[in-house]
Subunit: 431 residues, 2 copies
């Protein structure tokens, strides 16, 4: 059985863990416009060639270029006593003047409370302390629920006159790491600095506000946005033996946030995708359709790489059979989320007995990550994403803890095994 | 639905993570006969009372008392160059004289090779370098395959005149930690010192032997066995509302090896079991059968606690409805392994739709850990064990890395949720 051969090859001779080690330890974090981005693109081309791609090429696009400008300083001031808070500016946030800002802080637990207290906001720093809901078993649901505050909270506060915004980090971790990530401004309102703080500090700040009449926050940040720069999707292909003009895409995103190495997000997805190509070649499987591994640029900010990929596909009138993404970490695999017809879902489910030994026991409707969803929305391509166990993902996501050491070798390998098995089944038996 | 209430209670107000923190950080490793064992027994009684047990009591038994006697010294000597190896004496191993032993080492990759080379063994230290087979998806199968060398390798080597034994640690980890664990001697042959070494050192030693004509090993160990001492199963009960004389047992083992805190093995199983009682009480569920939480003594060496428990049950002619164990770590749950009739298995499988949301999607035949299996073998009790994801377990098992920090809070909680849900279903609907 070919799936058993795929598993044995990855588990005994896989290159995926070494590939991730190289990406994380010799390139490191890969935020748009950073020197590491260009090192990562060079690494990706070499890795795809070594994996056995017949062609490796780049797809250029304009990408946003936000710069952190060094470490932000955030202090809580209670009765003249200053306490440093563990903070990271959010992506796209403006900075402060070199003098920083110092203002009274108001604790806001929800947008509903913001609306109720809109007359108290003017001149203050709004601190959103909305928590991950622990009742969601899938942590991505807790993230989806809470991330509204990170993404849009600054402008919603600015419309009532806030001068700065702090947000409880998007995590349920037991440590105090701050977690960055993208935010966007509504151009109708002033742009105010927006930063995330770690959970211990968020609890400490909330407590202080609840105890004291007056708590001030000092923020100093040099974050700023430069004109767009250039990024590249890095693509490696094997031509299909029967349907050279029909494509199966497998991908992750090459960019990351900057506090760490982007190991889970999304180094894992990059090396998963490269390993799919490598292992199919290593076990002697010749894809009937053209297999395209795509390491997307700029997933974290504007999605420019995904938009470019689908625009090119559309312009060339390409036929896309299936697209699979990995952007939920290198943890032990549990299922695939897919967006496609019920008929196709039934076909996928008929393959569960072939995958269950390797960890995947379910196909659930409604998946496909940020980089393949445009193919589904614009070209109607059936898409899917690997869903690894999600319990640990937000411990590391966009945080200083997203490092190679937090990846387990075998869990990572199992992700690639299940992805390669699914690609083999789709390629061989159709979808 | 009660299972949803159980999940919400554990995820929002669970005591399990704090309980594990207390056990690992204020008690620590709990090897038979150590002062920590008695601290652990006191902790367990208090924790069961706080969880809501109506009665907490002890079951005394004799347990083996092996003492490590400080850190063993193991050095590889090649051309007069000494290199220290990261080693741990195996449980029950004898030590060396205070001068240590120094002998030529022979690399043996399998018992088959030992038999072939039996004439070369005399006066040497045998180094078994049998590796975990990475092709087993369930790592417990790789362990079961390799652990023969740890358990019986010393006497098999001693029968051909070996003076000492080193074994490659029972792990597939990417670090160099040595992993201890029980071994036994065959009394027909001399007792020789037996130690495990870390994987990097095992590879280094194997390489040196393959390169050089002569590699010596120096071993100095003060390990020794004292007369049996006393240990206690710690038991907490809630009387059944309908069938007070019928028992459902839920347990883990309180003892651990000594290199670290016994967090995964089996602190997790202890706090899982305590949380089952706590959460059923917290959500207002009154068990129909008597629920008995048992924290077994001496699982790691002779299984005295399990033997005592079943002997008492038999002597009192107790009726045992079901027994569930957790001894495979605090990782995200995937399934239960069970030993019971096919009819009962079908009934359990009919409950999968109730559990799948929380992680368990399978009941597989053939499970039940070391502490509940005697109930099955001697009394015919249906038994089962929680099977969490196994990829990381042997990174920590019996090693200096088995510490609280390697447990993820939510993964641990999900184990307790699924165990409590299963106990509720068995108690309410019968098995």
């Amino acid at each position: 059985m070919l799936i058993r051969k795929i598993a044995d090859e990855v588990l005994t001779s896989g290159k995926i863990y070494d590939n991730l080690h190289t990406l994380t330890k010799t390139v490191g974090g890969r935020i748009n416009g950073s020197p590491q981005t260009y090192k990562a693109e060079a690494w990706a081309q070499k890795a795809l060639q070594e994996a056995g791609a017949e062609r490796v090429y780049l797809q250029q696009c304009a990408i946003p270029h936000w710069v952190r400008g060094g470490k932000a300083e955030v202090k809580m001031i209670v009765n003249n006593k200053e306490t440093a808070l563990n903070a990271l500016a959010l992506g796209n946030s403006v900075g402060t003047s070199s003098a920083g800002i110092n203002a009274s802080v108001i604790l806001i637990n929800s947008f509903a409370e913001l609306e109720q207290r809109k007359n108290e906001i003017k001149g203050k720093i709004v601190f959103y302390n909305y928590k991950f809901n622990p009742k969601f078993i899938q942590t991505f649901r807790a993230y989806g629920d809470a991330v509204r505050y990170r993404g849009g909270g600054a402008s919603r506060a600015a419309q009532y006159g806030a001068v700065g915004m702090l947000v409880r980090s998007m995590t349920e971790s037991t440590d105090n790491n701050p977690h960055t990530g993208a935010m966007t401004y509504n151009d109708s309102f002033p742009k105010i600095p927006a930063l995330a703080i770690g959970l211990w500090d968020a609890d400490k700040l909330a407590w202080a506000i609840q105890q004291n009449k007056s708590v001030h926050i000092f923020i100093k940040s040099n974050a700023h946005t430069l004109p767009d720069t250039v990024g590249y999707n890095v693509i490696g292909e094997i031509t299909g033996s029967e349907f050279a003009d029909q494509f199966i895409t497998v991908g992750g995103h090459l960019d990351s946030w900057d506090p760490a190495e982007g190991a889970e997000d999304d180094g894992a997805g990059c090396v998963h995708s490269i390993e799919v190509l490598r292992v199919l070649k290593a076990v002697g499987y010749k894809p009937r359709h053209t297999l395209r591994i795509v390491l997307f640029t700029d997933e974290e900010n504007r999605g420019s790489g995904a938009a470019k990929y689908v625009a090119e596909a559309r312009a060339k009138n390409e036929k896309h059979v299936f697209a699979l993404e990995s952007d939920a970490g290198g943890f032990t695999p549990r299922s695939f989320g897919v967006s496609l017809s019920n008929e196709r879902l039934e076909k996928l489910r008929s393959w569960i007995p072939l995958l269950q030994e390797y960890g995947v026991y379910e196909f659930s409707l409604g998946g496909g990550g940020a980089d393949v969803t445009p193919l589904n929305e614009i070209l109607g391509t059936p898409v899917g994403e690997l869903i690894p166990d999600s319990q640990r993902y937000f411990d590391y996501h966009h945080a200083p803890s997203d490092v190679f050491e937090n990846i387990n070798k075998r869990e990572l390998e199992l992700g690639a095994i299940n992805m390669a098995a699914l690609i083999y089944l789709v390629d061989k038996y159709g979808l």
